[in-house]
Amino acid sequence: MTWHHHHVLDLDDFSREEIEAVLETASAMKEVLTRPVPKVPTLRGKRVFSLFYEPSTRTRASFELAAKTLSAEVVGITAQVSSVVKGESLLDTIKTLEALGADAIVLRHPEAGAPYLAARYCRASIVNAGDGAHAHPTQALLDIFSLRQRLGDLEGLKVVIVGDILHSRVARSNIWGLKALGARVVLCGPPTLLPISFADAYAGVEVEWDLERALEGAGAVIALRLQWERQQDLIPSVEEYVAFYQLNAQRLSRARPGALVLHPGPVNEGVEIDPEVARGPQSLIDEQVTNGVAVRMALLYLLLGGAHE
């Protein structure tokens, strides 16, 4: 098996083979989750800390459940970014967790690049659970896993990512992962949330400001959460956003029949996505949540488990 990562910081350094290794392992883990007693002893004695500097329900629960299903010791920590100079710094906290015997630290942080700082000064495996607008590799892997389970090969598949691309770590990590598997990635959103330079930043990625054009022939659509707090100076109003960028049934009909709909959650129903589409037959939103646990189990297993022994 191809695997030589000590940390999972983003997917930009993952080859196609490595992504496939994760997906294969995740399939096996998904089977574990369907057992009457979903628990295996694989990571017994390993210590996994989840360190969250941002509120999160699903990512955090998903990671902790993944680690517990593999029988690891799990400690969850909710931390706050200290604004005081003398406050405990990220590195202080990381060093403390290391001293407590951490084998892996799952880190969610509001600042881009924070996991890289942690990884540079820490022996434990760092798993990025989302850093600012930069990366959310496990979300991308579970999106890809969900698509693969339904569609098989993603080669040539047109995947539209629609929303606030500028601030989206989900979009950035998905770009790397989807490209590695040969998918065609089209980004869509209003121009203030989707600078044209995205096409230069990621070779082969297309930028399309018009959602209806973007959806032509798409095999899958990832709708992103609109975080109004962050974007209020970048879009004129939520109403305008809904009018032109909401994923609804009529727009979805421009995509390929049966095109799959994903959303990283939590969903603002009626904003970025019409409830009818979010709960409709093409939606993978609930499946994504279940698959998230399997994918995170796979990563923890690959980082801490048998792969090295």
């Binding site: 590195l91 890289y116 700082l117 540079r120 850093d131 990366a135 950035r172 600078p195």
Partner: protein, 431 residues
């Protein structure tokens, strides 16, 4: 090598009483007590730095007068202009006096105080420029913060009268929006807020216009973009008193270093941010041409805790005094710049902006001299820097070009162990 008087050749220099007494060939008009052999090395006027942060008073954990000026002489700088963003800021005559006093007691090189432009650097009320000038401020700057149009106009009216430059950190705040890195491919990839070079260009255009309006002398700090250079060129062509500096890092590094080998290396965080290779090349060309008048280090030492944090929380700036020559020599070694021009931009270029008798070894001028080996290789070890700021992105890098000796007012402030002041043979015989 003394571009200030068009000198490039083998000479002997006699110094005494702190000044240059004679430059010529063969035996000097009076016998020296001691001789420093510079054979095979470049001897030039000591470098003049228009822009460095010595951090005193108030931030002694980052740098002190003693450590900062030791770093300066190791880097070949015999004059440094100390920026006023200290705690408290140097915004009144007594603080200028304090700094001069501190420098005379603890400084190893000439320290020229730059006064803040506004009280408390708050951008609202102009400082007492004339009183501060009389106390010894050589220029005015709110460096670190951009200057508003109203203040800039008032300051440049005084600049015309006082004959001193007003220096500006050019940044349109609404375009810059607290960007962390250059806006473009790299900011998008890293997910960091970008600051477009146009934020600088808009402010430069405004400054050139206001300098034209008032007849004052505006000096643009750390110019980083081709668009800014075009505004400066147009101003200079029209006879506007505008000068500018560029830093060693904007001349030698690019934003691509932020992606690899160390992603988000906070030692690469500077303001203005590192730009693209296209902008870097334009800066190197403008330096060669003379559109950029001076190299200034923007030496910005930080303590470890200021940099061992998340990128957006890290303090901006690099510890530059000791690596400046070595980095800049890369431009010479790869043919982007000739050595004489580089020396000019480190000596007479900045000295002219200050309007002082510095930066050239004319007879009667201060005997501030640097001796360097343009081909000597050395490896940057942050722990070995004299500066308290170990924040250099060049750790482990091999630089080619090293300062061997620095004389301030004729006295050796720094000597490489391989060089010695020797009593000449003739003199020994007499003893």
């Amino acid at each position: 090598m003394d571009p200030g008087q068009g000198l490039d050749g083998v000479r002997d220099i006699l110094v005494g009483k702190g000044r240059v007494l004679w430059i010529g060939h063969g035996p000097p008009p009076q016998e020296p007590d001691k001789v420093l052999q510079g054979r095979g090395l470049v001897v030039s006027p000591g470098f003049v730095d228009l822009h460095c942060h010595l951090r005193e008073p108030g931030q002694e954990e980052k740098e002190t007068m003693a450590s900062g000026t030791l770093a300066a002489c190791r880097g070949g700088f015999t004059t440094v202009c100390a920026m006023p963003n200290t705690r408290p800021p140097v915004d009144s005559p007594p603080l200028v006096e304090f700094l001069k006093d501190k420098a005379s007691r603890e400084g190893l090189v000439r320290v020229l105080p730059v006064g803040a432009l506004t009280r408390g650097r708050a951008g609202k009320e102009l400082v007492e420029m004339e009183a501060m000038a009389r106390a010894g401020a050589v220029a005015f700057s709110d460096d670190g913060h951009p200057t508003g149009s109203r203040i800039m106009r008032q300051a440049l009216e005084f600049s015309r009268y006082l004959g001193l430059p007003v220096m500006d950190h050019c940044e349109d705040p609404e375009l810059a929006r607290e960007g962390q890195v250059n806006e473009g491919v790299v900011s998008l990839r890293l997910g960091l807020r970008g600051m477009p070079s146009q934020a600088e260009e808009a402010a430069v255009a405004r400054d050139v216009a206001v300098a034209g309006l008032t007849g004052g002398h505006v000096h643009i700090h750390h110019v980083s973009s081709q668009g800014s250079l075009e505004h400066i060129r147009r101003g200079k062509e029209k006879g506007v008193k505008v000068t500018c500096e560029a830093t060693p890092h904007h001349l030698t590094l690019t934003e691509d270093s932020l992606l690899a080998p160390i992603p988000y290396d906070t030692n690469l965080k500077v303001n203005p941010p590192l730009r693209s290779e296209r902008e870097r090349k334009a800066l190197a060309e403008a330096l060669r041409e003379g559109l950029i008048d001076a190299v200034a280090t923007d030496h910005a030492p930080h303590s470890l805790v200021d940099k061992l944090v998340e990128f957006s929380r890290a303090g901006p700036g690099m510890s530059n005094l000791e690596t400046a020559l070595g980095s800049l020599m890369a431009l010479v070694h790869r043919g982007e710049l000739d050595l004489l021009t580089l020396v000019a931009r480190l000596t007479i270029g900045p000295a002219r902006i200050l309007g002082k008798e510095l930066g050239s070894l004319k007879v009667g001028w201060p005997a501030d001299v640097v001796i360097f080996d343009p081909d000597r290789e050395w490896t940057v070890d942050p722990q070995a820097l004299a500066s308290r700021g170990k924040n250099t992105p060049l750790a482990g890098e091999k630089l080619k070009g090293k300062v061997m000796a620095t004389l301030v007012g004729g006295k050796a402030a720094y000597l490489d162990p391989s060089l010695k002041l020797e009593v000449p043979e003739s003199r020994k015989a007499k003893i």
